[in-house]
Subunit: 290 residues, 2 copies
Amino acid sequence: MLRYTHSLNIDLPTLCEFELHEDVDQPSAISPSIRDRPFLFAGACPANPLIMRLEQFTRFDNQEIAALVALSASPRIYPSGHILINDCTCVEHVFLLLEGMAYRYKILPSGKRQILGYLVPGDLFDLQFDPASRPDHSIALLCKSTVVKIPIRRMDHLLSQFPHVERALTVATLLDVAILREWLLNIGQRNAIQKVSHFFCEMMVRLSKVGQVDADGSFDLPVNQMMLADTTGLTSVHINRTLQRLRGLGLIILKHRRLSILNFNHLAAVADFEGSYLRCRTFARGVAYD
Amino acid sequence: MLRYTHSLNIDLPTLCEFELHEDVDQPSAISPSIRDRPFLFAGACPANPLIMRLEQFTRFDNQEIAALVALSASPRIYPSGHILINDCTCVEHVFLLLEGMAYRYKILPSGKRQILGYLVPGDLFDLQFDPASRPDHSIALLCKSTVVKIPIRRMDHLLSQFPHVERALTVATLLDVAILREWLLNIGQRNAIQKVSHFFCEMMVRLSKVGQVDADGSFDLPVNQMMLADTTGLTSVHINRTLQRLRGLGLIILKHRRLSILNFNHLAAVADFEGSYLRCRTFARGVAYD
DNA sequence: CGATTATTTGAAAGGTGTCAAGATAGGTGG
DNA sequence: CCACCTATCTTGACACCTTTCAAATAATCG
């Protein structure tokens, strides 16, 4: 009876085989857009986002589910901008993000900041830190968020008790690294409009997996243009102009910290987005693996 | 009697506290250069590079050493350019690089390539792939290299038998991810001369840890200018001009696929290189942790 | 030695950054 | 409900870093 519904897990595979079109400058040429498939984004179900996320990779039995649910107990709400981990922190906890959003970042002595990644509901972090040494980067909240702080000791205990859960978390960590690699490719090799488009596509896929994307293809994305700049390695002025181009192409609406992707297929074509690195079998450009 | 010498492990901490200098344009202003400390790079000792690398993080007992040495048995030599893993590969082995060098990369449909990282002697890869899904990137050899191909099954067996070794390998993997993050910062936020300088500094530190750097601060770096371009997200033409600037500043000599860093401190200052992300306690800008 | 690959150089175009100012929006207090 | 304040977004002009394209030179390899 602890079982949760997993609508996205079941529905997502049906969203597949979007194709690349050469006429990237003709937004109308591509269909069906994601808007035409409302059943894919059946709204956020009240499920535990951690379970929702990890069940992308495996199936848990009731005991495991119970353990994971217990993990989500006693959450706390922190304000936007709250720093969960910085380079002076001694890492004694892992964090589970239940609601809201967070980001990893690094700052240069010159003051330049690079966003290294975003954390979405259901993300458990950070198993990537070695308790024996200091964090090499920081993590802060993008908006008011609900977070569970879990002592590492307790986490270790749970993982040794449930190797199946440990395996799922390892896979989740591998996925994080795969995202990091894709970002390197994105920042290193794509131009401004592609960088931004690619980021938007990625966030939509990731958020859809945890039920954060509405039926009309819109979702909360509490980033300002400076954040986007530090995410893509561009300046905020150039981000502004790039967003105008994307709006002009009829691909997105971004306001009130909410992004509507009006034509996912076209946006993905612009970005050269190929979602298989997200282990979403369904977003592999025209080919469904397995 | 299986014990190996670990000269670098002992010597490196003495290389410390290089400082930032503001007068970046005056190469002569900085001393002592790394050349003045030959004892740091006492030449490649014949030790097993895997053990050399992992003993940065821990100490092994004789049994563990024996197991690791056994792992290095039956190496094979592959030619330059040989592809060890690509996106069509089914991952059934991990690889241990004993001699030579390799690189991870990703290619866009447009043909643009991004180098994601370099593998040096002593690197064991890739625990980062999930056997259940396809690799999201490829790995190829940079030059003729000696590699051991280890069945995943055998590796798993060894790791479950020696949890201490598993822990060390996990830390090594965490370090790889930390390097990846630093690369994102590098490509996203630094200019051309800093990107190249930073890459050189990182390679020198990493290679010095496995005894690949000579007493005069020079080491094999079998990359051409196109590789450097795809590493830094620049074009090969611009790399060429950037290298000329670095040569003009008297910071490096790069020819015959070999790099000599003439003044490490100065190069690090140019790059804003801060080595603590490499878990080299000694390269933390002026401050030795712990 | 020829043939290929890699490096170097120049000129020109273009993408992106910089600087500065004005407009808009969201929040706060009266 | 309005006035104000601050953060954010928008816009323009200009500089410059980096790319592109082309060609010449040098290095490497069989």
